[in-house]
């Protein structure tokens, strides 16, 4: 139900991210507005999805969907309904047995021309620490070689609402969008490029150290 997602973005995501938190964004123009495209972002908080949603124009939202862990978000029926119907996640089954395709939903979304949000670290992890990029993204991008891969780094959300916390505390959040990447044959190089780009974006959004000589 894409209109529920639009309402969710308008009434929940944007107010929480833009008023309660407060967002500074660099290079918003680099975000894709049409699919198929893959947005890869670092993952520290449940607020990550809300933040990424609030970067897109409302008209595009119905075409944007994040992949998220099925074992976590489909735990009970109410949550599953909320996650799939309102937030609009694509459930990804982690650690399934051979033969099952965990990325089937993502594949369908891309084939359908949608903008897919992926958290290639796979889990929320420690705040502000970037874990290894997993291989799923390489497989997906390999099947949709025309789909651009756009890295996004978000800083400060793990602090606002970390693992195991339920109350979002206001902090200013910095987001930087990186340059477009495309699939490349060498899996390791592709993953490394993405990770390097995210790390470079992280250095950009971290507070600027002043020059000793400069005044205040």
């Amino acid at each position: 139900m894409p209109w529920l997602r639009v309402l969710f973005v308008l009434l929940v995501a944007r107010p929480v991210v833009k008023l309660w938190l407060g967002l500074t964004i660099r290079h918003q123009e680099r975000l894709p507005l049409t699919g198929p495209a893959i947005v890869v972002a670092n993952h520290n908080s449940h607020l990550d999805i809300l933040t990424l949603y609030s970067l897109f124009p409302l008209a595009v939202i119905r075409n944007v969907q994040p992949a998220a862990a099925a074992d976590y978000f489909l735990k009970n029926r109410l949550m599953a309904w909320f996650a799939t119907q309102v937030v609009g996640i694509i459930p990804v089954k982690r650690g399934t047995k051979k033969g099952d395709d965990p990325l089937a939903g993502c594949r369908a979304a891309l084939a359908d021309g949608r903008i897919l949000i992926l958290f290639p670290e796979g889990t929320r992890g420690e705040p502000e620490v970037l874990s290894e990029v997993k291989s799923g993204i390489w497989h997906l991008a390999g099947e949709f070689r025309d789909a651009p891969v756009i890295p996004v780094y978000m800083h400060g959300l793990g602090r606002a609402l970390g693992r195991g916390q339920w109350l979002p505390i206001p902090f200013f959040v910095d987001v930087a969008v990186g340059r477009t990447h495309f699939w490349q044959e060498n899996r390791q190089a592709f993953k490394q490029d993405l990770r390097d780009c995210l790390l470079q974006l992280r250095d950009k959004v971290l507070p600027v150290k002043p020059n000793e000589e400069e005044g205040y």
Binding site: G22, G162, I169, F171, K209, P210, Y216
Partner: protein, 319 residues
């Protein structure tokens, strides 16, 4: 017309004051446009942004002067919220104190509520006494002792500067009404007086520092601040206060000049105190909320000192 619109009224001197500010801004906008036209090779973006932001600040601040108490509390409540958020974003908070930070934010609506209901006694002790004692207690209940002193004192300071000190501005607004010596218009003029002088003092200190002065006042904290800037700025502010004070406040010309001197010197101190905080943390600007200025704390720094000090100066002498 709804009641709240008919309640809005600006006393004559305040209309003149705001009109003066608008004229200055128009002159600044035109001057920069002219300079940019003459010397297009230089980069004028920063200056243009700065003046454009000034227009927004003046428009937003004017809402607080309209004579509607609730509106004024909302304006300054939002200012405190943004300033506290900026301070906490900069300082290193502990993950364990997550919920404590929520309590720190909760002081904002409470503090402005005390002002709104004109409960002076509560307004003046709520944060220095009750919040001061409550926050460490809440932290102790969580039980993380590593970094306790640093976290507790940073938080105390954040709340004092961004909520307690700033809340003295709307407290000025209702001060005359509370003691029955004037109405909210009288308070609005006091509020305008201290804010306009503090901001013009910042500008005057900067201009004097650029043109005169070599001796540095606080070289380690703020290498650009010179003694010439401080003295020239304070003298200018004293003069302006002496000129406009008698129209805007019930103070005698001598007291107006003294208030100007107080604002001139303590505005400078507030400025370098926040500079020291920024230097300690290792950032140049406190944020990026106000394009051309930096963060909101970069604009409020001098007010954190002048607002409470002017409040008590004028309260002791006249209210």
């Amino acid at each position: 017309m709804p009641d709240w619109i008919t309640q809005l009224s600006l006393p004559m001197p305040l209309q003149w004051g705001l009109g003066g500010v608008v004229v200055i801004l128009i002159i600044a906008t035109l001057t920069i446009a002219l300079l940019a036209h003459r010397k297009p090779e230089k980069n004028w973006t920063e200056l243009k942004l700065r003046v454009r932001t000034w227009w927004w600040i003046v428009a937003f601040f004017s809402l607080a002067l309209l004579g509607n108490k609730t509106l004024a509390m909302l304006v300054f409540g939002l200012v405190s919220f943004l300033a506290l958020k900026e301070f906490l974003t900069l300082s290193s908070t502990r993950e364990a104190d997550h919920v404590v930070l929520f309590w720190a934010y909760l002081t904002i609506p409470l503090q402005y509520y005390w002002i709104h209901i004109t409960w002076y006694g509560m307004f003046i002790i709520f944060i220095p006494v009750y919040v001061y004692l409550f926050l460490p207690m809440r932290m102790v209940l969580i039980g993380e002792t590593k970094g306790f002193l640093r976290a507790a004192s940073s938080l105390q300071w954040a709340v004092m500067l961004t909520v307690f000190c700033i809340s003295h501005l709307p407290a000025l607004l209702i001060l005359p009404e509370t003691v029955g010596k004037g109405d909210i218009g009288t308070g609005a003029m006091l509020l305008f007086f201290v804010v306009a002088l503090t901001q013009s003092n910042d500008v005057a200190q900067y201009l004097w520092g650029k043109s005169t002065g070599r001796r540095k006042v606080a070289p380690k904290v703020s290498p650009n601040k010179t003694l010439g800037g401080l003295l020239g700025g304070a003298a200018t502010t004293t003069l302006i206060a002496w000129l406009i004070g008698p129209y805007l406040t019930p103070m005698s010309p001598l007291h107006c000049a003294l208030a100007g001197l107080l604002i001139g010197i303590t505005g400078f101190i507030g400025d370098i105190v926040i500079s020291a905080v920024k230097r300690d943390i290792g950032v140049k600007d406190s944020g990026s909320l106000l394009p051309g200025h930096g963060g909101i704390l970069d604009r409020l720094d001098s007010l954190t000192y002048t607002a409470p000090l002017f409040f008590h100066f004028v309260r002791y002498l006249y209210f």
